[in-house]
Amino acid sequence: RGMAAAALLLLLLVAGPGPRRAGAGRERRDALREELLLSPLPTGDVAATFQFRTRWDADLQQGAVSHYRLFPKALGRLVAALGVRELHLALTQGFWRTRFWGQPPLQAPAGAELWVWFQPTVTDVDKAWKELSNILSGIFCASLNFIDSTNTVTPTASFKPLGLANGTDHHLLRYAVLPREVVCTENLTPWKKLLPCGSKAGLAVLLKAERLFHSSYHSQAVHIRPVCRDASCLAVSWELRQTLTVVFDVFSSGQGKKDWSLFKMFSRTLTDACPLASQSKVYVDISPKNKEKELLEVTPPPTSVHEAVVQGDKKTYAVYDLLSPSLFNTSRSLNVQLKWKRPQDSSEMPIPVLHAQRYVGGYGLQTGEICTLIYNTHPYRAFPVILLETVPWYLRLYVHTLTIITKGKENKPSYIHYQPAQDRRRPHLLEMLIQLPANSVTKITIQFERALLKWTEYPPDPNHGFYVGSSVLSALVPSVIAMKDVDMEQSPLFTSLFPSSDGSSYFVRLYTEPLLVNLPTPDFSMPYNVICLTCTVVAVCYGSFYNLLTRTFHVEEPSRGGLAKRLANVIRKFRGVPPL
């Protein structure tokens, strides 16, 4: 008995200082993975997508004392202080042309987009949302502080949590888009500052502002979400994904050739991996188009070749593992180059299964019409799509004019959620679940009336027009080829961000073009003009009246007389009358 007690005591003594002293060989509780995906687009442009994934095996919500290593403190404190469960912020310049560029790895609408799920413990979601957008606008130097109730909506179906969540009470969700927001260097710098290695090492050395903003499309995003720590999912880890997508027009800048290299695009080459990263890889999409292989050639030879089914398409990637020592053996830097062996015929561009288009119809400044065209090019499968429209209150939608026409017939949506706008309080929210038949075009039109604003409500340069944010399409698109059970963690980039229901379909979220609508705009100089005119009239009257009152009148003897008098005298002479 005594022996057992002694043994227990010994055990306690050993266990007591154990966890603390294990510091040196401590299991890292956070990990960073950096990836770069280079994919040549059908039009000859090249899309480069960076993703920096920081995973932290800690529960941010506990608050109290927090000790950060790889996870940025600014964001961590924000999540803890405001009860954020999931945060998605994207700042985008330009528009991803899905029709020509194919399905994007992760699209974002032009301008700024922010959607946040709050914890159920948050009592005043609107207050937390306001505070959050203000703080984020400080962190990212963006005008997110313009997010208020007039551009915030609570979608019911379109935005589901991407991370771990029990229950999806959509009252905890807030979504806002600022289509007018211009993204530039001052937004990139704070974004880079959140990376553990900054832009000093690893893939981030390529992020030079003067090249990134000299491009057709630039989108940088931050995604924070809770994920399962392991397969049993008993504990929560937090994941921060910082993504940046940029599309370079190498075709026009490369003298008509579609060949490119890292140096040509970024004017930098890679020299090492970020020493803090546990994975650092460059993927180049070398998928053979239309069965012909060996169309293109990448140099230097990749470390390995990876095949995966991404977004319903079989893809082949050349992989460069920056952490493998063999890569930098021959040369000190890595400059991935791609050469086309023979000119590619662009006539056979693959058309994505789902794409959409939107425009404003009508004429005059009183009414108008928003038209959305949704294309399903799948040869034999129909699938449903959720459409989310957020329209500012100053476009007064006539809901009775909503028509959905597919192949000449009316298409009744199986779910409609409409929240009418309130003037100066909240925007219109229209969510619909529409079935898209195979190989069809669906046209959705709704008419609106343009409201008259108060003169202080017009933004600077009101004749430029008013932006209406992109509408959002969310769909489970059936894939053309069956997806095998692939290891999601292994495949590049975003396959693990969106959940996949089964092997036969994949999730796609698309954004349409933002709209620019003209509103009746008054002449803003009018009040000043009126003031000037009235003042001048008053001043002239005052002047003559003043003269009249202050001038003294003398009778003046005419000396010679003026021109009129002489003229009169000449006439009098003719008439024989004595002169004046």
């Binding site: 000790h67 940025p72 600014a74 405001l82 400080g138 553990p196 290695c197 900054g198 003042c535 003043y546």
Partner: protein, 499 residues
């Protein structure tokens, strides 16, 4: 600045143990006495310190406690017997020959709110000693002047006085480990354990003064703004004292602002120099290396350089694992924290012996010291804020004061008055609470957004809009004025012509 008159009342109990009563006492024990001290800051700000002293002899229990062998034991035994309310002091006078205090020490200040004083013969000598002790344990003229540093003319204040943090409702303490070279050094620090062991007791104690939050981060590739100078003699790199002000700037951009709160941030940086710059030493003004290899920046925080020894063999694995000795680091950072709060324990006469505060890092009387200074500072701040608000109203006549702003102003004034009366009664804790409320209310009133946008349409702009009216109207008036002037001149000239 607005006039501020504060009276600080310190209740002091002076307890004579048997055999220590001076011969020339004016009255038999017990009796009361009052001593006043005037602290003049500037013409419009005056602080009066009033020590209300009660002289009495020891009780039997106290006598038993004083019979202990070491002063520390006495201090612990006396603790339950004395008035433990904040701001009050108990001073025990022991006989001159007492062996309780070590040789050469005549004043012992305990961990709590009491002190032991060796009787010094005459009453006058005792009084000077008592004054010294009470000032050390409550406030001195310099500590009050430092708290009111905004009101003191620039030249009069020593640079040390400007080091203290401004009074605030909360502070954020951030420990940052700067590792400019993660390729060669994999630096680990057990900050969680160190915070729990060293920082948390201090912060818990200070939580009476303000809210504290503690966090830490590791910043990679963060470099100092100054390239250190290589010294051949010692084959080390040196940062001279005059270049230290430039060190912080590039680091500060990486530290990250406290976006989620408005409290001031105290930054403590631990810098592990890159291998090409190590070892790195900080030099003081005389060129001698600083022993702690650390420096602090007033009202901002502190930086410590932590040198890592280069591995003996070049074959050592890369990166080199470094485990930071947190006890050494935290000793420096806690000392800097005390400095930033104005709780330096230097500048004391040699016959003083201060009990080490132990694990809590802060004695009770040091907390009082902080509370006195912060209460006075809060009162001065509120008075300044409300005065500037009043000046703003005088300047812009058509500004609208909403009811909630008005009620905040009334509440601030009421709280300040209650703080002043509590101070005059010697209730330090409630006075501090009231002064905190006053600051909150006055700031809320001053920074109310409704007081802002009306500022943007000043009267001179209104005048500018009506220039199209005033300008043409002024022309005939000016012309006729000119005519009048011309005519009067001619009238004056005419008589001279007549002559």
């Amino acid at each position: 600045a607005a006039p501020v008159q504060v009276q600080l009342v310190v209740p002091v109990a002076v307890v004579f143990s048997p055999g220590s009563v001076p011969g020339d006492l004016p009255r038999p024990l017990p009796f009361r006495d009052v001593q006043e001290m005037e602290i003049s800051v500037n013409l419009r700000t005056s602080v009066t310190a009033r020590y209300e002293m009660v002289f009495r002899s020891t009780t039997a229990q106290e006598e038993a406690a004083l019979a202990a062998v070491t002063p520390r034991e006495t201090d612990a035994a006396l603790r339950p017997l004395q008035d433990s309310s904040m701001g009050s002091l108990t001073i025990y006078v022991v006989p001159e020959t007492s062996s309780l205090l070590p040789q050469g020490i005549s004043v012992y200040v305990g961990k709590h709110r009491s002190a032991l004083v060796r009787a010094g013969g005459s009453l006058a000598a005792l009084h000077t000693r008592l004054r010294q002790v009470t000032q050390v344990m409550s406030f001195t003229a310099t500590s009050i002047a430092a708290a009111l540093s905004d009101r003191v003319a620039n030249g009069q204040l020593s640079p040390d006085a400007r080091r203290n943090l401004k009074s605030s409702l909360g502070y954020e303490i951030t420990f940052s480990l700067l590792n400019p070279d993660p390729k060669l050094h994999a630096v680990d620090w057990d900050i969680e354990g160190a915070v729990n062991r060293y920082v948390k007791p201090v912060v818990d104690k200070l939580s009476l003064v303000a809210n504290f939050s503690v966090d830490s981060q590791i910043l990679y590739y963060a470099v100092l703004g100054v390239t250190p100078r290589y010294d051949k003699e010692s084959s080390s790199f040196l940062l001279s004292a005059h270049s230290l002000p430039h060190v912080i700037n590039p680091v500060e951009a990486r530290l990250g602002s406290s976006a989620a709160s408005l409290y001031p941030v105290l930054n403590f940086l631990l810098y592990v120099p890159e291998r090409s710059h190590s070892p790195l030493y900080i030099q003081d003004k005389n060129g001698a290396p600083v022993r702690t290899n650390a420096f602090h920046s007033p009202r901002w925080g502190g930086i410590m350089v932590y040198n890592v020894e280069a591995p003996a063999s070049s074959q050592a694995s890369i990166p080199l694992h470094v485990d930071v000795d947190m006890a050494r680091v935290m000793e420096v950072f806690l000392a800097q924290l005390r400095l930033l709060f104005g709780l330096s324990r230097e500048e004391l006469p040699p016959e003083f012996l201060l009990e080490s505060p132990g694990n809590e890092g802060l004695a009770d009387w040091e907390l009082d010291h902080l509370l006195w200074a912060h209460t006075v500072e809060n009162i001065a701040t509120v008075s300044t804020t409300l005065t500037s608000l009043a000046q703003l109203l005088d300047k812009i006549g058509n500004i609208v004061i909403k009811d909630d702003v008005a009620s905040e102003v009334y509440r601030a004034v009421a709280s300040v008055q209650s703080a002043l009366s509590k101070l005059a009664m010697g209730h330090l804790h409630s006075a501090f609470q009231a002064s905190k409320e006053a600051v909150t209310s006055s700031e809320r009133a001053f920074f109310d957004p409704s007081l802002l946008h009306l500022l943007y349409f000043p009267d001179d702009q209104k005048f500018a809009i009506y220039i199209p009216l005033f300008l043409p109207m002024a022309v005939p008036i000016l012309l006729s004025l000119a005519k009048i002037v011309r005519e009067t001149r001619q009238h004056k000239k005419e008589p001279t012509k007549m002559d």
